[in-house]
Symmetry: C2
């Protein structure tokens, strides 16, 4: 049974959301969970959820400090040694836990994970890799912001990491790996893309992954690729542009629906489908951000 | 009176669209227009439009060749010396015309314009700079694909060019200039962004433009900035991601509207507002792509 360490103090809705999430996860999956954070906060929240005695497979580990959003991300894990973040990551480092989940500061988590738990041997950089909703399902975008400056070797490694995720977590037999670029032809893009294209093609020829060539920003949401390889700068711009465009369109649609009595009636008639769609593209629903490496 | 040279043979709908557009423009604006292309094609199209004698301020310039989409963009203007593209650009070069408009190959146009007409003295690179629709109106994105590899100096020049456009064509008294980046703080981004931030801040301090700092992909469509400065690679990914996201959402909305009788009735009730919105974001409506430099 895998043992998941959960940061009970991380995120805008802590400790409610992490504690409730842990209780839900215990029911849904065959896992062991340890909540890390302030004892009074965790126990208070468990009581509020109607839990008086700890259920099987749920544990609490005390950590007296909390990494705040104003803390310097690069040094927070070191300065707050008894924070839920640092204590939780150290449990993964020591082997007491298999994975650490936090809704707290992404930067602090990434720095802490890299410097405490350390990267997999041979992996140059950890990456942030969300699943984005597409016409055909989901696509993994790797990297989306951890590494603003990248080398072709980093991008090749992102492709391998995302490919593994798409196979083992998303259950795809042969994930289609695409390189985010500004044209479909192999000759397109800057020198980083040209070199990376060569490396990905070589990996494809060796049977290590299934490279389908360049994909453009417009193809990404149409589900052309299961894995999109990008440097962290471009990946981040892409992800946030998707969010911004969706937000913009939602606002415009809302004003269309609220324009007059006729349109309001129309809105009522499509509200069910519309709600399901909003849920599908809501970053708060689909925005979990695994860090690999 | 300004003299506009129009490529009658460029684009998917040539010569119909350029000829019809020239006739419309003559009525709407105080301009002189020369259509460049094959005489029979232009005259045939004018006849089809019911024009038997040339109206005042409309001229025809023969060019026997056409640059096709399969021609190598870098050399097309040179290999097809009697193409509408090359003849038209040479008219601008010689001073016979003030500007050249073409719906043909963007690459061939950019190469031809750079090498025939040449850049403004001091401008390092020509850029492609579309207006993108936003919540508050339009934003100029500069560059969006002409230059995959950029220096901080290029980006500063893109800012100046787009600033001039926003002032003189869009009529904004003090355009807000933002740098496309992966975070709001000045310390965010890669070395290109850090150096460019310094140059833009200096230009702001000298009163040369109004720099509002970094803007993220998510802010762009909400109208935070009137001018968004980007390298051509990132700008292109941003533009195409907007197109892809909008296309994806349109397809999803269509399937919501067509789901059942109730939703179809709802669609009918909001169809007017929805059509206006689709027009607002349709790349075919708003996709003109000025090249500056």
């Amino acid at each position: 049974m895998k043992h998941i360490i959960v940061d009970a103090m991380g995120g805008d809705h802590a400790p409610q959301a992490p504690v409730q999430g842990a209780l839900d996860a215990l029911k849904a999956y065959d896992v062991e969970i340890t909540l890390v954070g302030r004892l009074d906060a965790i126990q208070g929240e468990l009581t509020a959820c109607g839990v008086t005695t700890l259920p099987a497979h749920l544990h609490i580990q005390e950590a007296t400090e909390v990494v705040e959003i104003c803390d310097d991300p690069a040094t927070a894990f070191k300065r707050k040694k008894d924070s839920s973040l640092t204590v939780g990551l150290n449990m993964v480092k020591s082997g007491a836990g298999d994975a650490f989940v936090s809704a707290g500061s992404t930067g602090a988590l990434l720095s802490g994970a890299t410097l405490l738990v350390k990267r997999i041997r041979g992996v140059r950089r950890a990456a942030l890799c969300p699943q984005i909703p597409t016409k055909t399902g989901h696509t993994v975008l790797c990297d989306c912001g951890a590494n603003a400056e990248c080398t072709p070797e980093y991008l090749l490694q992102f492709a391998f990491l995302a490919n593994l995720y798409a196979k083992n977590i998303m259950g795809l037999a042969q994930p289609k790996v695409g390189l985010l670029n500004i044209g479909a032809e192999p000759s397109k893009g800057d020198s980083l893309r040209l070199e990376t294209y060569g490396l990905l093609q070589k990996a494809h020829d060796q049977g290590l992954l299934h490279f389908i060539g360049n994909v453009e920003g417009s193809d990404a949401m149409l589900g052309e690729a299961d894995v999109i390889v990008a440097d962290g700068f471009t990946g981040n711009v892409m992800l946030k542009t998707m969010e911004g465009t969706a937000k913009f369109m939602n606002m415009e649609l809302k004003s269309i629906f609220l324009a007059n009595l006729k349109s309001k009636l129309g809105a009522l008639l499509v509200s069910k489908g519309f709600k399901a769609f909003k849920k599908k593209i809501d970053p708060n629903e689909v925005g979990a951000l695994p860090s690999w490496g």
